[in-house]
Protein backbone atom coordinates (compact mmCIF):
# COMPACT_ATOMS: atom_id res chain seq x y z
CA UNK A 1 0.00 0.00 0.00
CA UNK A 2 1.49 3.30 -1.04
CA UNK A 3 1.43 5.87 1.71
CA UNK A 4 -0.05 9.22 0.65
CA UNK A 5 2.06 12.01 2.14
CA UNK A 6 0.27 15.03 0.68
CA UNK A 7 -2.78 15.77 -1.43
CA UNK A 8 -3.11 18.87 -3.60
CA UNK A 9 -6.24 20.86 -2.68
CA UNK A 10 -7.00 21.77 -6.30
CA UNK A 11 -10.06 20.26 -7.91
CA UNK A 12 -9.58 17.29 -10.22
CA UNK A 13 -11.48 19.04 -13.01
CA UNK A 14 -11.52 16.03 -15.33
CA UNK A 15 -11.21 12.74 -13.41
CA UNK A 16 -9.62 10.09 -15.65
CA UNK A 17 -12.01 7.30 -16.63
CA UNK A 18 -9.65 4.91 -18.40
CA UNK A 19 -12.18 2.20 -19.10
CA UNK A 20 -14.59 4.65 -20.71
CA UNK A 21 -11.62 6.00 -22.69
CA UNK A 22 -10.77 2.48 -23.90
CA UNK A 23 -14.39 1.94 -24.95
CA UNK A 24 -14.60 5.22 -26.81
CA UNK A 25 -11.29 4.43 -28.54
CA UNK A 26 -12.63 1.01 -29.52
CA UNK A 27 -15.70 2.65 -31.03
CA UNK A 28 -13.71 5.09 -33.15
CA UNK A 29 -13.83 4.09 -36.82
CA UNK A 30 -10.70 2.34 -38.02
CA UNK A 31 -11.78 2.54 -41.64
CA UNK A 32 -10.13 5.12 -43.84
CA UNK A 33 -12.90 7.70 -43.99
CA UNK A 34 -12.66 11.12 -45.59
CA UNK A 35 -12.86 13.39 -42.54
CA UNK A 36 -12.39 16.72 -44.30
CA UNK A 37 -14.86 19.38 -43.23
CA UNK A 38 -15.02 23.12 -42.61
CA UNK A 39 -13.96 24.53 -39.24
CA UNK A 40 -17.60 25.49 -38.65
CA UNK A 41 -18.70 21.87 -39.13
CA UNK A 42 -15.89 20.46 -36.99
CA UNK A 43 -16.53 22.80 -34.06
CA UNK A 44 -20.31 22.39 -34.36
CA UNK A 45 -20.14 18.62 -34.35
CA UNK A 46 -17.35 17.87 -31.90
CA UNK A 47 -17.26 20.69 -29.32
CA UNK A 48 -20.09 21.24 -26.85
CA UNK A 49 -20.70 23.77 -24.09
CA UNK A 50 -18.94 22.66 -20.91
CA UNK A 51 -16.46 20.39 -22.71
CA UNK A 52 -12.91 19.95 -21.47
CA UNK A 53 -10.62 21.04 -24.32
CA UNK A 54 -6.91 21.38 -24.95
CA UNK A 55 -4.85 23.19 -27.57
CA UNK A 56 -1.39 22.04 -28.55
CA UNK A 57 1.26 24.59 -29.41
CA UNK A 58 4.26 26.30 -27.94
CA UNK A 59 4.05 30.02 -27.48
CA UNK A 60 2.41 31.19 -30.69
CA UNK A 61 4.02 28.45 -32.77
CA UNK A 62 1.72 26.07 -34.60
CA UNK A 63 -1.28 27.54 -32.84
CA UNK A 64 -4.70 26.03 -33.82
CA UNK A 65 -5.99 29.56 -34.16
CA UNK A 66 -8.50 29.14 -36.99
CA UNK A 67 -10.26 26.50 -34.85
CA UNK A 68 -10.15 28.66 -31.72
CA UNK A 69 -11.57 31.60 -33.69
CA UNK A 70 -14.44 29.35 -34.75
CA UNK A 71 -15.10 28.30 -31.13
CA UNK A 72 -15.40 31.99 -30.28
CA UNK A 73 -17.61 32.63 -33.32
CA UNK A 74 -19.97 29.83 -32.26
CA UNK A 75 -19.82 30.98 -28.62
CA UNK A 76 -19.10 27.54 -27.12
CA UNK A 77 -19.23 28.40 -23.43
CA UNK A 78 -18.37 27.18 -19.92
CA UNK A 79 -15.31 25.50 -21.37
CA UNK A 80 -12.85 23.72 -19.17
CA UNK A 81 -9.36 24.18 -20.57
CA UNK A 82 -5.85 22.80 -20.12
CA UNK A 83 -3.93 26.04 -20.08
CA UNK A 84 -0.56 26.37 -21.65
CA UNK A 85 -0.94 29.12 -24.13
CA UNK A 86 -0.32 32.60 -25.32
CA UNK A 87 -2.55 34.26 -27.92
CA UNK A 88 -5.15 31.52 -28.47
CA UNK A 89 -6.15 31.07 -24.82
CA UNK A 90 -6.06 34.82 -24.38
CA UNK A 91 -8.69 35.05 -27.12
CA UNK A 92 -10.89 32.41 -25.43
CA UNK A 93 -10.53 34.24 -22.11
CA UNK A 94 -11.17 37.59 -23.81
CA UNK A 95 -14.45 36.17 -25.10
CA UNK A 96 -15.34 34.98 -21.54
CA UNK A 97 -15.84 31.38 -22.63
CA UNK A 98 -13.67 29.69 -19.98
CA UNK A 99 -15.09 28.39 -16.69
CA UNK A 100 -12.24 26.30 -15.31
CA UNK A 101 -8.52 26.07 -15.97
CA UNK A 102 -5.83 23.52 -15.37
CA UNK A 103 -3.23 26.24 -15.77
CA UNK A 104 0.48 26.02 -16.40
CA UNK A 105 1.19 29.31 -18.18
CA UNK A 106 -1.02 31.88 -19.79
CA UNK A 107 0.87 35.03 -20.60
CA UNK A 108 2.29 36.99 -23.47
CA UNK A 109 5.95 35.93 -23.10
CA UNK A 110 8.13 38.99 -23.85
CA UNK A 111 5.06 41.26 -23.67
CA UNK A 112 4.29 40.27 -20.09
CA UNK A 113 1.15 39.19 -18.22
CA UNK A 114 -2.17 38.41 -19.91
CA UNK A 115 -4.73 41.14 -19.30
CA UNK A 116 -7.59 38.79 -20.17
CA UNK A 117 -6.40 36.14 -17.71
CA UNK A 118 -6.20 38.83 -15.05
CA UNK A 119 -9.72 40.13 -15.73
CA UNK A 120 -11.32 36.71 -15.96
CA UNK A 121 -9.64 35.22 -12.88
CA UNK A 122 -9.64 38.30 -10.65
CA UNK A 123 -13.36 38.85 -11.34
CA UNK A 124 -14.16 35.20 -10.59
CA UNK A 125 -15.58 34.53 -14.07
CA UNK A 126 -13.02 31.77 -14.32
CA UNK A 127 -14.30 29.85 -11.29
CA UNK A 128 -11.49 27.34 -10.87
CA UNK A 129 -7.72 27.62 -11.38
CA UNK A 130 -5.75 24.47 -10.70
CA UNK A 131 -1.96 24.86 -10.92
CA UNK A 132 0.58 22.65 -12.76
CA UNK A 133 4.02 22.96 -14.32
CA UNK A 134 4.39 22.66 -18.10
CA UNK A 135 5.91 19.19 -17.79
CA UNK A 136 3.28 18.32 -15.18
CA UNK A 137 0.49 18.90 -17.70
CA UNK A 138 2.45 17.22 -20.51
CA UNK A 139 3.04 14.13 -18.31
CA UNK A 140 -0.68 14.10 -17.49
CA UNK A 141 -1.32 13.83 -21.25
CA UNK A 142 1.38 11.16 -21.49
CA UNK A 143 -0.31 9.13 -18.72
CA UNK A 144 -3.59 9.28 -20.65
CA UNK A 145 -1.70 8.42 -23.84
CA UNK A 146 -0.22 5.39 -22.05
CA UNK A 147 -3.66 4.40 -20.81
CA UNK A 148 -2.58 4.50 -17.16
CA UNK A 149 -4.19 6.53 -14.33
CA UNK A 150 -1.10 8.50 -13.30
CA UNK A 151 2.61 9.03 -13.81
CA UNK A 152 5.21 9.62 -11.09
CA UNK A 153 7.48 12.65 -11.46
CA UNK A 154 9.90 14.72 -9.44
CA UNK A 155 8.48 18.07 -10.59
CA UNK A 156 6.27 20.26 -8.38
CA UNK A 157 7.45 18.70 -5.06
CA UNK A 158 7.64 21.08 -2.09
CA UNK A 159 5.89 23.93 -3.93
CA UNK A 160 2.55 25.72 -3.76
CA UNK A 161 2.17 24.72 -7.40
CA UNK A 162 1.67 21.19 -6.04
CA UNK A 163 -0.47 22.36 -3.09
CA UNK A 164 -2.94 24.06 -5.48
CA UNK A 165 -2.90 21.19 -7.99
CA UNK A 166 -4.78 17.90 -7.76
CA UNK A 167 -1.57 15.88 -7.70
CA UNK A 168 -0.71 13.65 -4.76
CA UNK A 169 2.63 12.96 -3.10
CA UNK A 170 3.26 9.37 -2.09
CA UNK A 171 6.09 7.45 -0.53
CA UNK A 172 7.61 5.61 -3.49
CA UNK A 173 7.19 1.85 -2.88
CA UNK A 174 10.60 1.18 -4.46
CA UNK A 175 12.86 3.98 -3.19
CA UNK A 176 10.96 5.29 -0.17
CA UNK A 177 11.35 8.86 -1.49
CA UNK A 178 8.44 11.28 -1.81
CA UNK A 179 7.14 11.15 -5.37
CA UNK A 180 4.60 13.36 -7.13
CA UNK A 181 1.79 11.46 -8.86
CA UNK A 182 0.19 13.28 -11.76
CA UNK A 183 -3.33 12.13 -12.68
CA UNK A 184 -3.97 11.24 -16.32
CA UNK A 185 -5.74 14.03 -18.22
CA UNK A 186 -8.17 12.80 -20.86
CA UNK A 187 -9.51 15.62 -23.02
CA UNK A 188 -13.02 15.69 -24.42
CA UNK A 189 -11.56 17.50 -27.43
CA UNK A 190 -8.01 18.16 -28.56
CA UNK A 191 -7.10 20.78 -31.18
CA UNK A 192 -3.83 20.54 -33.10
CA UNK A 193 -2.58 22.50 -36.11
CA UNK A 194 -0.08 20.62 -38.28
CA UNK A 195 1.98 21.20 -41.39
CA UNK A 196 0.21 18.57 -43.44
CA UNK A 197 -2.37 15.84 -43.21
CA UNK A 198 -4.23 13.55 -45.58
CA UNK A 199 -8.01 13.44 -45.79
CA UNK A 200 -8.15 10.62 -43.22
CA UNK A 201 -6.17 12.52 -40.58
CA UNK A 202 -2.65 11.11 -40.87
CA UNK A 203 -0.76 14.17 -39.71
CA UNK A 204 2.84 15.35 -39.92
CA UNK A 205 4.68 18.16 -38.13
CA UNK A 206 8.00 19.76 -39.08
CA UNK A 207 10.45 20.93 -36.43
CA UNK A 208 9.97 20.38 -32.72
CA UNK A 209 6.80 18.57 -31.74
CA UNK A 210 6.00 20.16 -28.35
CA UNK A 211 3.48 17.79 -26.76
CA UNK A 212 1.54 17.06 -29.95
CA UNK A 213 1.99 13.30 -29.88
CA UNK A 214 0.86 13.05 -26.25
CA UNK A 215 -2.12 15.41 -26.55
CA UNK A 216 -3.37 13.65 -29.68
CA UNK A 217 -3.39 10.33 -27.82
CA UNK A 218 -5.02 11.86 -24.72
CA UNK A 219 -8.05 13.18 -26.64
CA UNK A 220 -11.43 11.47 -26.92
CA UNK A 221 -12.17 13.60 -29.96
CA UNK A 222 -9.42 15.19 -32.03
CA UNK A 223 -9.72 18.01 -34.53
CA UNK A 224 -6.74 18.50 -36.82
CA UNK A 225 -6.26 21.60 -38.91
CA UNK A 226 -3.53 21.51 -41.53
CA UNK A 227 -1.62 24.01 -43.63
CA UNK A 228 -2.12 21.66 -46.56
CA UNK A 229 -3.94 18.45 -47.36
CA UNK A 230 -1.70 15.94 -49.11
CA UNK A 231 -2.28 12.52 -50.60
CA UNK A 232 -1.98 9.36 -48.56
CA UNK A 233 0.74 8.26 -51.01
CA UNK A 234 2.87 11.20 -49.83
CA UNK A 235 2.20 10.22 -46.20
CA UNK A 236 3.30 6.67 -47.01
CA UNK A 237 6.50 7.99 -48.61
CA UNK A 238 7.55 9.42 -45.24
CA UNK A 239 5.67 7.48 -42.56
CA UNK A 240 8.31 8.28 -39.93
CA UNK A 241 7.10 11.90 -40.08
CA UNK A 242 3.57 10.93 -39.04
CA UNK A 243 3.14 11.66 -35.34
CA UNK A 244 -0.65 11.36 -35.44
CA UNK A 245 -2.13 8.32 -37.23
CA UNK A 246 -5.57 8.74 -38.78
CA UNK A 247 -7.61 6.64 -36.36
CA UNK A 248 -6.99 9.19 -33.57
CA UNK A 249 -8.59 11.91 -35.66
CA UNK A 250 -12.26 12.92 -35.98
CA UNK A 251 -12.04 15.95 -38.24
CA UNK A 252 -9.53 17.32 -40.74
CA UNK A 253 -9.78 21.00 -41.58
CA UNK A 254 -7.70 22.58 -44.31
CA UNK A 255 -6.39 25.86 -42.94
CA UNK A 256 -3.54 27.63 -44.71
CA UNK A 257 -2.20 30.29 -42.31
CA UNK A 258 -4.25 28.51 -39.63
CA UNK A 259 -1.79 29.61 -36.94
CA UNK A 260 -1.94 33.31 -37.83
CA UNK A 261 -1.02 35.65 -36.09
CA UNK A 262 1.14 32.87 -34.72
CA UNK A 263 3.84 31.27 -36.85
CA UNK A 264 4.44 27.93 -38.53
CA UNK A 265 8.07 26.96 -38.64
CA UNK A 266 9.55 26.77 -42.16
CA UNK A 267 6.30 28.19 -43.61
CA UNK A 268 5.56 31.68 -42.25
CA UNK A 269 6.68 33.95 -39.45
CA UNK A 270 4.67 35.40 -36.60
CA UNK A 271 2.69 38.56 -37.38
CA UNK A 272 4.28 40.81 -34.80
CA UNK A 273 2.13 43.80 -35.81
CA UNK A 274 -1.11 41.97 -35.12
CA UNK A 275 0.20 40.46 -31.88
CA UNK A 276 1.00 44.02 -30.77
CA UNK A 277 -2.46 45.15 -31.88
CA UNK A 278 -3.94 42.44 -29.63
CA UNK A 279 -1.68 43.34 -26.69
CA UNK A 280 -3.02 46.92 -26.89
CA UNK A 281 -6.61 45.84 -27.48
CA UNK A 282 -6.60 43.34 -24.60
CA UNK A 283 -6.01 46.09 -22.05
CA UNK A 284 -9.71 46.87 -21.56
CA UNK A 285 -12.92 44.87 -21.95
CA UNK A 286 -14.25 47.33 -24.51
CA UNK A 287 -11.21 47.27 -26.80
CA UNK A 288 -11.03 43.48 -26.43
CA UNK A 289 -14.60 43.19 -27.72
CA UNK A 290 -13.80 45.54 -30.61
CA UNK A 291 -10.83 43.37 -31.59
CA UNK A 292 -12.92 40.18 -31.40
CA UNK A 293 -15.63 41.87 -33.48
CA UNK A 294 -13.13 42.90 -36.14
CA UNK A 295 -11.21 39.64 -36.46
CA UNK A 296 -13.77 36.99 -35.44
CA UNK A 297 -17.46 37.89 -35.09
CA UNK A 298 -17.62 40.05 -38.21
CA UNK A 299 -15.72 37.47 -40.24
CA UNK A 300 -17.58 34.50 -41.70
CA UNK A 301 -14.80 31.91 -41.67
CA UNK A 302 -11.06 31.38 -41.85
CA UNK A 303 -10.90 32.15 -45.57
CA UNK A 304 -12.57 35.51 -44.92
CA UNK A 305 -10.19 36.09 -42.01
CA UNK A 306 -7.24 35.58 -44.37
CA UNK A 307 -8.80 38.08 -46.78
CA UNK A 308 -9.16 40.59 -43.96
CA UNK A 309 -5.51 40.20 -42.97
CA UNK A 310 -4.70 40.55 -46.64
CA UNK A 311 -2.88 38.47 -49.23
CA UNK A 312 0.03 40.91 -49.31
CA UNK A 313 0.60 40.70 -45.57
CA UNK A 314 0.41 36.90 -45.58
CA UNK A 315 2.86 36.78 -48.49
CA UNK A 316 5.21 39.02 -46.50
CA UNK A 317 5.07 36.68 -43.52
CA UNK A 318 5.90 33.79 -45.82
CA UNK A 319 8.80 35.68 -47.41
CA UNK A 320 10.27 36.39 -43.96
CA UNK A 321 11.10 32.69 -43.45
CA UNK A 322 14.81 32.06 -44.04
CA UNK A 323 16.22 28.80 -45.33
CA UNK A 324 17.13 26.07 -42.86
Amino acid sequence: MMKVLQEGIGKLIQPPDLNAFRSSNRDKPKAMIDKRMSEAEAVQEFIHDGDYIGTELYGTVRCPQSLVNEIVRQGKKDLRVAGQGVYELDILLGASLVKALDITYIGMEVYGVSNCLRREVESGRVETCVEWSNAGIAWRFKAAAMGVPFLPARSMLGSDTLKYSSAKVVECPFTGDPMCLLPALILDVGLIHVHRADMYGNAQIDGITGFGAELARASKRLIISAEEIISTEEIRDNPEKTIIPYYLVDAVVEAPFGSHPGEMCYVYERDEDQIKEWIEASKTGETTRAYLEKYIYAVKDHAAYCQLVGEDRLAELKAMVPGR
Binding site: G59, S114, R154, S155, L157, S159
Partner: protein, 255 residues
Protein backbone atom coordinates in the same frame (compact mmCIF):
# COMPACT_ATOMS: atom_id res chain seq x y z
CA UNK B 1 37.11 47.99 -17.70
CA UNK B 2 34.76 49.48 -20.22
CA UNK B 3 34.83 53.05 -21.30
CA UNK B 4 31.35 52.63 -22.73
CA UNK B 5 28.05 53.44 -21.11
CA UNK B 6 25.75 50.42 -20.80
CA UNK B 7 22.12 50.00 -19.82
CA UNK B 8 20.68 47.74 -17.04
CA UNK B 9 19.71 44.93 -19.45
CA UNK B 10 23.20 44.89 -20.97
CA UNK B 11 24.66 44.59 -17.48
CA UNK B 12 22.37 41.66 -16.60
CA UNK B 13 23.12 39.88 -19.88
CA UNK B 14 26.90 40.23 -19.57
CA UNK B 15 26.89 39.19 -15.89
CA UNK B 16 24.72 36.13 -16.59
CA UNK B 17 26.69 35.07 -19.66
CA UNK B 18 29.90 34.81 -17.64
CA UNK B 19 28.23 32.25 -15.38
CA UNK B 20 27.87 29.81 -18.30
CA UNK B 21 30.99 27.72 -18.90
CA UNK B 22 31.87 26.01 -22.18
CA UNK B 23 30.93 22.36 -22.77
CA UNK B 24 27.99 22.39 -20.42
CA UNK B 25 24.23 22.19 -20.69
CA UNK B 26 21.89 25.08 -19.93
CA UNK B 27 18.10 25.23 -19.96
CA UNK B 28 17.36 28.56 -21.62
CA UNK B 29 14.17 30.58 -21.13
CA UNK B 30 12.75 33.61 -22.95
CA UNK B 31 14.43 37.00 -22.82
CA UNK B 32 17.68 37.78 -21.02
CA UNK B 33 18.84 34.12 -20.65
CA UNK B 34 18.67 33.74 -24.45
CA UNK B 35 20.83 36.80 -24.97
CA UNK B 36 23.23 35.70 -22.25
CA UNK B 37 23.57 32.23 -23.82
CA UNK B 38 24.12 33.70 -27.26
CA UNK B 39 26.79 36.06 -25.91
CA UNK B 40 28.46 33.21 -24.02
CA UNK B 41 28.62 31.17 -27.25
CA UNK B 42 30.34 34.07 -28.99
CA UNK B 43 32.70 34.90 -26.11
CA UNK B 44 34.03 31.94 -24.16
CA UNK B 45 31.58 29.06 -24.58
CA UNK B 46 31.21 28.09 -28.28
CA UNK B 47 30.04 24.64 -27.22
CA UNK B 48 27.47 25.75 -24.65
CA UNK B 49 24.57 23.36 -25.25
CA UNK B 50 21.47 25.53 -25.22
CA UNK B 51 18.41 23.46 -24.35
CA UNK B 52 14.94 24.87 -24.98
CA UNK B 53 11.88 23.57 -23.23
CA UNK B 54 9.76 22.66 -26.24
CA UNK B 55 12.37 20.50 -27.92
CA UNK B 56 15.45 22.33 -29.23
CA UNK B 57 18.83 20.90 -28.17
CA UNK B 58 22.15 22.48 -29.10
CA UNK B 59 20.91 25.34 -31.26
CA UNK B 60 23.43 27.76 -32.70
CA UNK B 61 22.16 31.08 -31.46
CA UNK B 62 23.13 33.19 -34.48
CA UNK B 63 19.77 34.79 -34.57
CA UNK B 64 17.92 35.78 -31.43
CA UNK B 65 14.89 33.66 -30.48
CA UNK B 66 11.90 35.72 -29.33
CA UNK B 67 10.04 32.83 -27.73
CA UNK B 68 10.93 29.42 -26.24
CA UNK B 69 9.34 27.42 -29.03
CA UNK B 70 10.16 29.30 -32.19
CA UNK B 71 12.38 28.10 -35.03
CA UNK B 72 15.54 29.84 -33.80
CA UNK B 73 15.48 27.59 -30.70
CA UNK B 74 16.40 24.67 -32.95
CA UNK B 75 18.34 26.53 -35.66
CA UNK B 76 21.22 24.23 -36.73
CA UNK B 77 20.48 22.24 -33.55
CA UNK B 78 21.73 18.72 -32.95
CA UNK B 79 18.22 17.52 -32.08
CA UNK B 80 14.63 18.71 -32.32
CA UNK B 81 12.27 16.72 -30.10
CA UNK B 82 9.48 17.75 -27.73
CA UNK B 83 8.84 19.01 -24.22
CA UNK B 84 8.86 15.65 -22.44
CA UNK B 85 12.19 14.58 -23.94
CA UNK B 86 13.68 17.84 -22.69
CA UNK B 87 12.25 17.79 -19.16
CA UNK B 88 12.95 14.07 -18.79
CA UNK B 89 16.56 14.83 -19.80
CA UNK B 90 16.68 17.33 -16.94
CA UNK B 91 14.95 14.87 -14.60
CA UNK B 92 17.70 12.34 -15.40
CA UNK B 93 20.36 14.85 -14.33
CA UNK B 94 21.75 15.92 -17.69
CA UNK B 95 21.09 19.63 -17.36
CA UNK B 96 23.55 21.65 -15.32
CA UNK B 97 22.21 25.20 -15.43
CA UNK B 98 18.72 26.61 -15.55
CA UNK B 99 17.54 30.20 -15.65
CA UNK B 100 14.54 31.52 -13.77
CA UNK B 101 12.68 34.73 -13.10
CA UNK B 102 9.61 35.79 -11.19
CA UNK B 103 7.62 38.55 -9.55
CA UNK B 104 8.97 37.71 -6.09
CA UNK B 105 11.95 35.87 -4.59
CA UNK B 106 12.58 35.03 -0.93
CA UNK B 107 15.82 34.46 1.07
CA UNK B 108 15.82 30.75 0.11
CA UNK B 109 15.44 31.43 -3.61
CA UNK B 110 11.78 30.35 -3.77
CA UNK B 111 10.11 32.12 -6.68
CA UNK B 112 6.57 33.34 -7.28
CA UNK B 113 5.15 33.76 -10.77
CA UNK B 114 1.57 32.65 -9.99
CA UNK B 115 -0.38 35.18 -7.89
CA UNK B 116 -0.01 38.29 -5.78
CA UNK B 117 -2.37 37.91 -2.82
CA UNK B 118 -4.54 34.89 -2.05
CA UNK B 119 -4.58 32.10 -4.65
CA UNK B 120 -8.37 31.81 -4.85
CA UNK B 121 -9.03 35.57 -4.70
CA UNK B 122 -5.87 37.00 -6.21
CA UNK B 123 -5.03 40.67 -6.28
CA UNK B 124 -2.97 40.01 -9.40
CA UNK B 125 -3.17 36.81 -11.41
CA UNK B 126 0.24 36.16 -12.96
CA UNK B 127 0.94 33.69 -15.82
CA UNK B 128 1.78 30.66 -13.63
CA UNK B 129 4.65 28.18 -13.48
CA UNK B 130 5.17 27.38 -17.14
CA UNK B 131 8.43 25.48 -17.22
CA UNK B 132 9.77 27.39 -14.20
CA UNK B 133 8.87 24.74 -11.64
CA UNK B 134 10.39 21.99 -13.80
CA UNK B 135 13.64 23.93 -14.26
CA UNK B 136 13.81 24.70 -10.53
CA UNK B 137 13.11 21.07 -9.64
CA UNK B 138 15.55 19.27 -11.94
CA UNK B 139 18.50 21.46 -12.96
CA UNK B 140 21.62 21.09 -10.84
CA UNK B 141 22.15 24.82 -10.52
CA UNK B 142 19.57 27.50 -11.14
CA UNK B 143 20.29 31.15 -11.73
CA UNK B 144 17.59 33.71 -11.07
CA UNK B 145 17.69 36.97 -13.01
CA UNK B 146 15.66 39.65 -11.26
CA UNK B 147 15.02 43.33 -10.98
CA UNK B 148 16.24 44.29 -7.53
CA UNK B 149 13.88 46.11 -5.19
CA UNK B 150 12.26 45.41 -1.84
CA UNK B 151 8.87 44.62 -3.42
CA UNK B 152 10.44 41.75 -5.30
CA UNK B 153 12.97 40.59 -2.69
CA UNK B 154 10.58 39.64 0.14
CA UNK B 155 10.87 37.61 3.35
CA UNK B 156 8.00 35.36 2.24
CA UNK B 157 6.68 34.98 -1.29
CA UNK B 158 2.89 34.98 -1.70
CA UNK B 159 3.09 31.66 -3.55
CA UNK B 160 5.96 29.21 -4.10
CA UNK B 161 5.63 28.57 -7.82
CA UNK B 162 9.16 27.24 -8.18
CA UNK B 163 11.01 25.66 -5.28
CA UNK B 164 14.26 27.16 -4.12
CA UNK B 165 15.62 25.80 -0.85
CA UNK B 166 12.01 25.95 0.54
CA UNK B 167 12.59 26.74 4.25
CA UNK B 168 16.30 26.00 4.19
CA UNK B 169 18.67 23.21 5.30
CA UNK B 170 17.60 19.83 3.92
CA UNK B 171 14.07 20.89 2.99
CA UNK B 172 14.47 20.22 -0.75
CA UNK B 173 15.63 16.64 -0.21
CA UNK B 174 12.91 16.03 2.39
CA UNK B 175 10.31 17.17 -0.14
CA UNK B 176 11.68 14.57 -2.58
CA UNK B 177 13.53 16.94 -4.92
CA UNK B 178 16.78 15.50 -6.33
CA UNK B 179 19.69 15.89 -3.88
CA UNK B 180 22.40 18.36 -4.85
CA UNK B 181 20.10 20.57 -6.90
CA UNK B 182 18.92 24.08 -6.15
CA UNK B 183 19.45 27.81 -6.47
CA UNK B 184 23.00 28.79 -7.33
CA UNK B 185 23.10 32.49 -8.17
CA UNK B 186 20.86 35.54 -8.29
CA UNK B 187 21.89 38.16 -10.81
CA UNK B 188 20.46 41.67 -10.50
CA UNK B 189 21.38 45.16 -11.60
CA UNK B 190 22.68 45.78 -8.08
CA UNK B 191 24.49 42.58 -7.17
CA UNK B 192 25.40 38.94 -7.66
CA UNK B 193 24.26 36.68 -4.84
CA UNK B 194 24.73 33.06 -3.89
CA UNK B 195 23.47 30.95 -1.00
CA UNK B 196 25.04 30.15 2.35
CA UNK B 197 26.19 26.52 2.21
CA UNK B 198 24.52 25.61 5.51
CA UNK B 199 21.59 27.93 6.18
CA UNK B 200 20.78 28.12 2.43
CA UNK B 201 19.90 31.79 2.85
CA UNK B 202 20.78 34.28 0.15
CA UNK B 203 24.29 35.65 0.49
CA UNK B 204 25.85 38.71 -1.12
CA UNK B 205 28.86 37.78 -3.26
CA UNK B 206 29.54 40.88 -5.33
CA UNK B 207 28.10 44.29 -6.00
CA UNK B 208 27.66 45.58 -9.53
CA UNK B 209 29.96 48.44 -10.64
CA UNK B 210 29.23 51.68 -8.81
CA UNK B 211 26.76 50.06 -6.39
CA UNK B 212 27.40 50.15 -2.64
CA UNK B 213 26.66 47.34 -0.22
CA UNK B 214 24.23 49.66 1.58
CA UNK B 215 22.24 50.12 -1.64
CA UNK B 216 21.89 46.36 -1.97
CA UNK B 217 20.75 45.95 1.62
CA UNK B 218 18.25 48.83 1.33
CA UNK B 219 16.65 47.30 -1.73
CA UNK B 220 16.36 43.81 -0.26
CA UNK B 221 13.26 43.16 1.87
CA UNK B 222 15.00 40.59 4.08
CA UNK B 223 18.23 40.14 5.95
CA UNK B 224 20.85 38.99 3.49
CA UNK B 225 23.98 37.11 4.59
CA UNK B 226 27.06 39.29 4.04
CA UNK B 227 30.47 37.64 4.09
CA UNK B 228 33.54 39.66 4.99
CA UNK B 229 34.95 40.02 1.49
CA UNK B 230 32.53 41.49 -1.02
CA UNK B 231 33.89 41.75 -4.53
CA UNK B 232 32.92 44.24 -7.17
CA UNK B 233 31.54 42.47 -10.23
CA UNK B 234 33.46 43.62 -13.32
CA UNK B 235 31.69 45.99 -15.71
CA UNK B 236 30.77 44.74 -19.20
CA UNK B 237 33.83 44.90 -21.42
CA UNK B 238 34.04 46.65 -24.78
CA UNK B 239 34.25 43.27 -26.47
CA UNK B 240 31.10 42.01 -24.74
CA UNK B 241 29.16 45.18 -25.50
CA UNK B 242 30.20 45.22 -29.15
CA UNK B 243 29.20 41.57 -29.64
CA UNK B 244 25.94 42.15 -27.81
CA UNK B 245 24.99 45.22 -29.83
CA UNK B 246 26.35 44.30 -33.25
CA UNK B 247 25.67 40.56 -33.32
CA UNK B 248 23.54 39.12 -30.50
CA UNK B 249 20.74 41.69 -30.55
CA UNK B 250 21.41 43.49 -33.80
CA UNK B 251 17.69 44.14 -34.32
CA UNK B 252 17.46 45.76 -30.87
CA UNK B 253 14.68 43.63 -29.45
CA UNK B 254 15.94 43.71 -25.89
CA UNK B 255 18.73 46.23 -25.50
Amino acid sequence: MSAQVYNPNELLICTASRLMPDNTTAFIGTGIPMLAASLAQKMHAPNLVAIFEFGGTGAILDDLPLAVGERRTFHRAVAASGILDIVETAQRGFVEYGFLGGAQIDPYGNLNSTVIGDHDRPKVRLPGSGGGNDVGSHCWRTIAIMRHDSRRFVEKVDFITTPGYLDGLEAREKAGLPPGTGPYRVVTTLAVMGYHPESKRMMLLATQPGVSMEQVLENTGFGIVVEEEIESSPAPTDEELCLLRDEVDKDKYYI
